[in-house]
Amino acid sequence: MSASETSGNEPPAQAINYSSVPDQDGHFGTYGGKFVAETLMSALTDLEALYHRLSADPAFCAELDEDLAHYVGRPSPLYEARRLSAQAGGARIFLKREDLNHTGAHKVNNTVGQALLAKHMGKRRVIAETGAGQHGVATATIAARLGLECHVFMGEEDVRRQALNVYRMKLLGATVVPVTSGSRTLKDAMNEAMRDWVTNVDDTFYIIGTVAGPHPYPLLVRDFQSVIGREARAQSLDQTGRLPDALVACVGGGSNAIGLFHPFLQDEDVAMYGVEAAGHGLETGQHAAPLSAGTPGVLHGNRTYLMQDEAGQIIETHSVSAGLDYPGVGPEHSWLKDIGRVNYVAVDDTQALAAFHQLTRVEGIIPALESSHAIAYATELAARMEKEQTIIVNLSGRGDKDMHTVAEIDGIEF
């Protein structure tokens, strides 16, 4: 497409420098920013300054790489799912195996990074919010390793749904705090973590689990998760001799998706699909798909697409997967949606569960319910593509934590 064919005054897509966002104040276009109480502003400024310095410090980067290699187990494989591809009947599907990381999901890439920041800031206590429990487990894990006190806030409803992860966190020495306010899920856990942070800001580092929250979190979580895309890009070139035609990742807060997408944003021929949770169906209103069916607003420190009612109250979400059950989304995704670089689509509970069973049976890989959303969309997409084309799906986590949920749905009692 020539520049004259682009609409209005917008620059052609290739002119966008994706590393130039966020701006100094954390804005991705009109999204992002720092919408927090004054008490937290100086903590954010300190974190920003420290991160700015450390991210350019070779010693810090070496320390992080060392942890990623020997503690997390990176690089994670890029695996060609041949039987799944054959069933889908189209493009070749590759899985980026984040499920093989220590603790079983991509979340640990970020917690290892933030915990190092906490260590450099001399904080003795870390806090985290968690939905599925994967981020809580990853935080409790790194806290155990560094000898940090750890408190994990988790909605009461999720404590019930993810009992196994609650036990894991306790084994790791963390205190799990059930949150009983609001809808008792991830958003309320995040509110409670913010309240704890405001109270203990002197000695506490808040390890946010996704690319949301106030600046600089969306930036630094993106940077820590981008190892996924950097590896995938090199592996694709190495294993197939070219870049993939499409990337697919599920979107809760959006960290595994941005981690895969970001290193490819400049590659205009790589199509990208962020898969939100359509829950019981977008038309029912019972879903967790703010990009597909929400409107912009302000929550948890940033401006972004949200699920809200006509009075600007945040509404309750539904997804079979606790990790996608969140009414907001990282601000960079809101921007990528508006500029049209990434396509955001939605997959419902039933489709995700079918993909969960399919991948388990044909590849011997039990995916997390979150990741199952991406698998479901990828098989659909593959069917519409040519045999020579390739898709990389972010298999963001393994499904062990979801055994209870799936068994319950299938009517099985242990």
Binding site: M41, T199, V298, L299, Q313, I314, I315
Partner: protein, 271 residues
Amino acid sequence: MSRIAQRFAQLKEQGRKALVTYSVAGDPDAETSLKMLHEMVARGADILEVGVPFSDPMAEGPVIQQAHERALVNRLTLTAVIELVAAFRATDNQTPVLLMGYANPVEHMGYAHFADVASAAGVDALLTVDLPPEEVAPIKAELSRVGMDCILLVAPTTPDARLVKIVKQASGFVYSVSLKGVTGSGHLDSNVVAEQVARIRQHTALPVAVGFGIRDATSARAIAAVADGVVVGSALVAAAAEAGQGGPEAAVAAAGALVAEIRQGIDSLAS
């Protein structure tokens, strides 16, 4: 002169300190709220801070969180809060009313529209907890357009350089947050508060009101000794909620009684 500036000027003349009372609009319903606002004025409140119910009140402790939840049961949202203030204004054209809440409902209504309808209803100012100076300019412009004040917070963690920028943008009064924590926290230290107020006064002539953690006549008196005003929130909300078990009249009476007690505590300074 705005109602807020006028009120602080009057009080100064009388050698008295301002009592700012916080209640959540619609807790437990709009009718009781309205009665409570009038009762609090009758018993000695100088400025009314009216909380706008929000689904995710991140800066609040459990007492005020629950008040937001109670108000939302009746879907008491921003439009209804503004109507409540209009109803209050029908019989009280003097007492300043300040809305305190979170950015999203205001943003969703649209800053310009909010400014128009709120000022028409007789709202004097807006305090949005999650709009620090970095993000406040667009709404502040709309508030200024209609002559409303934009209240900004200064926290114990605010460095001096930042404080200077904040007070430059502030109008009405400066809201000094007394402690690191959520509303209703219990670790108020009046020496720390005194230092912070002094720090603020070095950079502005605006009145300084202190909030968070003030719960009774004694703590209000201690803070009033060093500030131009004290804000009482959780203690009032809790008193009303507890008494409210016995019906809305009891809730109104309990809030009024606590206001009277705190008023006395503050005024005992002057004598």
